[in-house]
Symmetry: C2
Subunit: 568 residues, 2 copies
């Protein structure tokens, strides 16, 4: 009596666009600027190109009042996108190139698509995407979204000639610039501060032109892709890692049989005599390749000859239960055979299929785990040394995941997959921007949550040109976060501090800056405006803030003493 | 050089489970309780069953310290789920029965699946679902999720006998009850307050049993499914409504040809003479059914005979461009033919395919739009009367959507699709719960945003047993919202009030209760903890709060005068 339905991800985000930051024309035009600028910066960063980004917002009808239709265009000098990928990249939700393990601003595969979707449902106009990957051919697309099916509809596609590489995307959407304007200008200004090697131009609807030139030509090295950190890895991730390392059974065909016979130096049809074949295999065993050994072991365990072997397909070998599952092509069904565990050939198979030892698995799969650490961990987790990962029961897998969380002697993560600002740049930037009497910054060592490395950087500034009132500036992966401050983990940490101890009141001229960078920021919302209170991140923020508040405290007491001196 | 990938929706929510409220063991066990209890209440509401819900949280190992594994079980006396739907309902993300247009707590099709996913990745145990829809057979399932493919893996399925209908679901997951316990108890208590006809039992890990008996047997009538309201309908929704009403071209087969010949009273093969057939059709035209008229019009416009007509499939008719597109089965490709617009039969086709007039469309598709309102609107939007909806250009469609937003004379929505508490129940509940000196409640008239009707109800209570400090209780569709208060639209509205004017200070004993019900609540997060600031909802909240603060203000001044009097 209930009618069940499945909806596509684009249909889900169309119905629930509030989740992605598209609740009203003010927020939507802001979020659209963000999504497009962040895509351009990511693309340039990944290819070590100094970014030149040009943002324009032009009303379609000058004299109407807000909210009304605007054309938002973001143009970059990045690598562009290969034209074969353009319709899917922009016309499909949950499709992108940033699902890997390195630091990037984008991570969901839907930012640009959502901006395009919002434009389409408010103005019914297709998006215009122009891209050149070689600086001579430029592919020009007009694309509409099939929202129910989550796929693009190509309205137009033409090729023109050009002299510059890069991507330009133009969306017609309903916005309220009178309300969103100051937030958009803040966003662009703060982005240029946190990305000092980027040049950003902004041409607003009123005709104003803002030009934020780069102040350095030094591009930080693009974050490398790296193995995950063992701390906090959950069971699902472990299972996938183990199955990725598991031995893949190749399909046996006549070509492979020919090769095997060659290795066995078998002549003619002698292989059809089971006893003779077994003797030949035994005699030549030390000289056989490992793939041949595996296939011959299967052959002998199943007591088949070559003609029979090509008629089946080995599906899986379960060492824990000593069974082999194969698909019989002629009978079109699967069979499960119990194997003789005392056979030499079964033992050989078991060795192939039981996978690496736990120590080898740890050193291969995770960053910064050497033999010594792996052995210490195996002992800590009460696994016997040499435990095979393919033989782990479900319960042992959960215990492994729990132990990875509790073991305290893993080295802190390799920070080369991250791109923090660095204390020097952070301090210089704060001094230049706020002109304070006091600045202190700190960069914490790399840490991890759920296998994802992260670094926390923080700064405080007091007095000088700073206006009264404690103000917080939050950044994540070099993106300024301007909304939903009060449900962000940084705000929570700041509120937990008893500022009176440091002689700081609500109206003190204090500025706090935080920057979290990670291979994956745990945002609370698809609109990427606030960070969730993951315990490990909260802890690092607390420690950074405690360090800075002690520095601030000693400055305040010196300042207090100096004022006392003056009075005398 | 970039490698693009598509990920499934379950993979997306696995990677980004912070979005759904599963960031840490404390929040996750709370969110899991919520998702399951809300499913049970929805199921009972929809079938007008007085809900008996039994929640148990039991640790798997008593003596360990938090966070640790718990078994969370929620058992209800609802209608159960047909066993064919169970694996998909719980094993697939974006699959559910609540995508329609009526008020329900659930709306995303992923709540229960996310709780199961979190359990699986922290404990590797399958979920246990037992369901009986007839009170005699009970289907028992153990299900694991294939997270990458977004589908269920059935581990076990058996049928036992039972005497009671309903669903029971049991998840083993890692939680932190020491931190989440008070929030979970608050949630259950507040749910029982806002759902006075539900009985909820809760058996907690420490062995405590909480029993919230129903205080009324009166179930509010289950909200009906209703047409959308015209206010705020976007272009995508309009397009889908129009294509749903568009004339569907039926496939012509021999059976249909036989029927047509019958209507034409044609004998033998006379139809193969085009001239004779045309005369016959003209003579019998007034007596033909409308489907026959349409097919014959196509036949004559394309100048085909019946034998040729069955070999093609009509794909679409574009009246704006006077073309007909058909698929030729023999040649396996599409053809587009220009039609003779002066032909009588073309005019007949155009009439069929140009769709309803705008006025008819409005009265058919939307609630509470009668002929008179539809004509007023058509004039307001500057469409000529009798404008055909299938002939609208893109620009006209956008203009229609804009005008639907600006027209102020639509009747307010039909509230029968909503289930508010009502002022009486709200006032009684507040009086009973807070025992205040002063209570005032208000229920605003139904309003709409983006076509979704909603009702705002609010209450304020002062003094009596209320402790010092302004406290806010938020509800949406009868769900208590206990997290992320400060990024909720209700909080924003309350903060915008200058409470000093009403002699209210930060430490005054004041309680504010808000309840928003809608066929779709615009949550900011998949975890359903805070509501987005949609302009229309914000406005209704403001007006409700202004009304209540005036009531409060006159109480405060009377109270002040009485205090003055006392002093003399
Ligand atoms: N300016 C650009 N230059 C080059 N590639 C781009 C550009 N903009 C988008 N892309 C490509 O299109 C893909 C989809 O972009 P989209 O914004 O929808 O998702 P995303 O950036 O991967 O993730 P997120 O939703 O977090 O933004 C990106 O992954 C990237 O590969
Ligand atoms: N206790 C129950 N009794 C009857 N049907 C249920 C029960 N729990 C879940 N269902 C069915 O399973 C479907 C999926 O539930 P799920 O919680 O994943 O999504 P939802 O409730 O539709 O939306 P949301 O994600 O917002 O909770 C529901 O739509 C409902 O049809
Ligand atoms: Mg992006
Ligand atoms: Mg649900």
């Amino acid at each position: 009596n209930e009618s069940f339905n499945q909806i596509s991800p684009s249909e889900f985000f169309y119905r629930n666009r509030d989740l992605a930051g598209f609740s009203n024309p003010t927020r939507s035009i802001y979020t659209s600027v963000r999504e497009l600028v962040e895509n351009s910066l990511d693309a340039c960063d990944q290819n070590r190109i100094l970014p030149n980004i040009y943002v324009t917002i032009q009303p379609t009808q000058q004299q109407k009042s807000d909210p009304k239709h605007y054309i938002l265009t973001v143009d970059d000098n990045g690598p562009g996108i290969d034209h074969n990928h353009i319709p899917l990249a922009f016309g499909t939700v949950l499709y992108g190139s940033k699902f890997g393990l390195n630091q990037a601003r984008g991570m969901f595969g839907l930012g640009a698509t959502m901006a395009i979707l919002y434009g389409q449902i408010t103005t019914n106009k297709p998006v215009r995407v122009n891209s050149s990957i070689d600086g001579s051919n430029r592919h020009e697309y007009e694309i509409l979204l099939d929202i129910q099916k989550n796929k693009p509809i190509i309205i137009k596609h033409s090729i023109t000639s050009t002299k510059k590489k890069g991507l330009s995307i133009s969306i017609c959407l309903e916005g309220d610039y009178s309300k969103a304007g100051s937030k958009i200008r803040d966003y662009i200004y703060q982005t240029s501060l946190i990305t000092p090697y980027a040049s950003i131009k902004f041409h607003d609807p009123k005709g104003n032109k803002y030009n934020y030139e780069r102040i350095t030509k030094f591009i930080p090295s693009s974050p490398t892709i790296i193995k995950p950190h063992p701390y906090g890895i959950d069971v699902e991730t472990l299972r996938r890692m183990i199955s990725d390392t598991s031995y893949k059974i190749s399909n046996v065909d006549n070509l492979m049989i020919a090769r095997i016979k060659n290795e066995l130096k078998m002549r003619g049809d002698v292989h059809n005599n089971y006893v003779v074949m077994k003797q030949t295999i035994k005699k030549r065993w030390p000289y056989l390749s490992s793939q041949t050994k595996t296939i011959l072991s299967i052959l002998l365990c199943l007591k088949l000859n070559f003609n029979q072997l090509v008629k089946i397909k080995i599906e899986s070998i379960d060492i824990a239960r000593n069974t082999l599952t194969y698909w019989n092509y002629e009978k079109s069904k699967s069979f499960v055979t119990q194997l003789n565990i005392s056979s030499f050939y079964y033992k050989h198979l078991a060795n192939e299929f039981k996978g690496d030892t736990l120590e080898t698995f740890l050193t291969k799969q995770f960053q910064r785990v050497g033999r010594h650490t792996a052995e210490k961990f195996t002992e800590f987790a009460h696994f016997r040394p040499g435990k095979r990962i393919m033989l782990m029961t479900n319960q042992e897998l959960v215990h492994l995941s729990d132990s990875l969380q509790k073991f305290s002697e893993f080295l802190s993560p390799d920070p080369s997959c991250l791109a923090p600002l660095g204390e020097n740049l952070l301090e210089k930037g704060i001094a230049k921007f706020f002109n304070p009497d006091f600045v202190s910054v700190v960069q914490r060592k790399a840490s991890a949550y759920s296998g994802f490395p992260f670094i926390v950087e923080m700064g405080v500034a007091y007095g000088g040109s700073i206006v009264n009132g404690i103000k917080l500036y939050r950044f994540a992966n070099r993106i300024p976060l301007l909304y939903d401050e009060s449900s962000d983990v940084v705000f929570k940490v700041i509120n937990d501090i008893d500022w009176n101890r440091y002689k700081i009141k609500n109206e003190s001229p204090l500025v706090i800056i935080s920057h979290i960078c990670s291979t994956r920021i745990p945002y609370k919302t698809v609109g990427k405006e606030n960070v969730a209170d993951r315990n490990e991140i909260e802890r690092e923020l607390k420690l950074a803030l405690q360090f800075l508040s002690r520095k601030l405290s000693s400055y305040m007491s010196k300042k207090g003493k100096a004022a006392m001196e003056k009075k005398r």
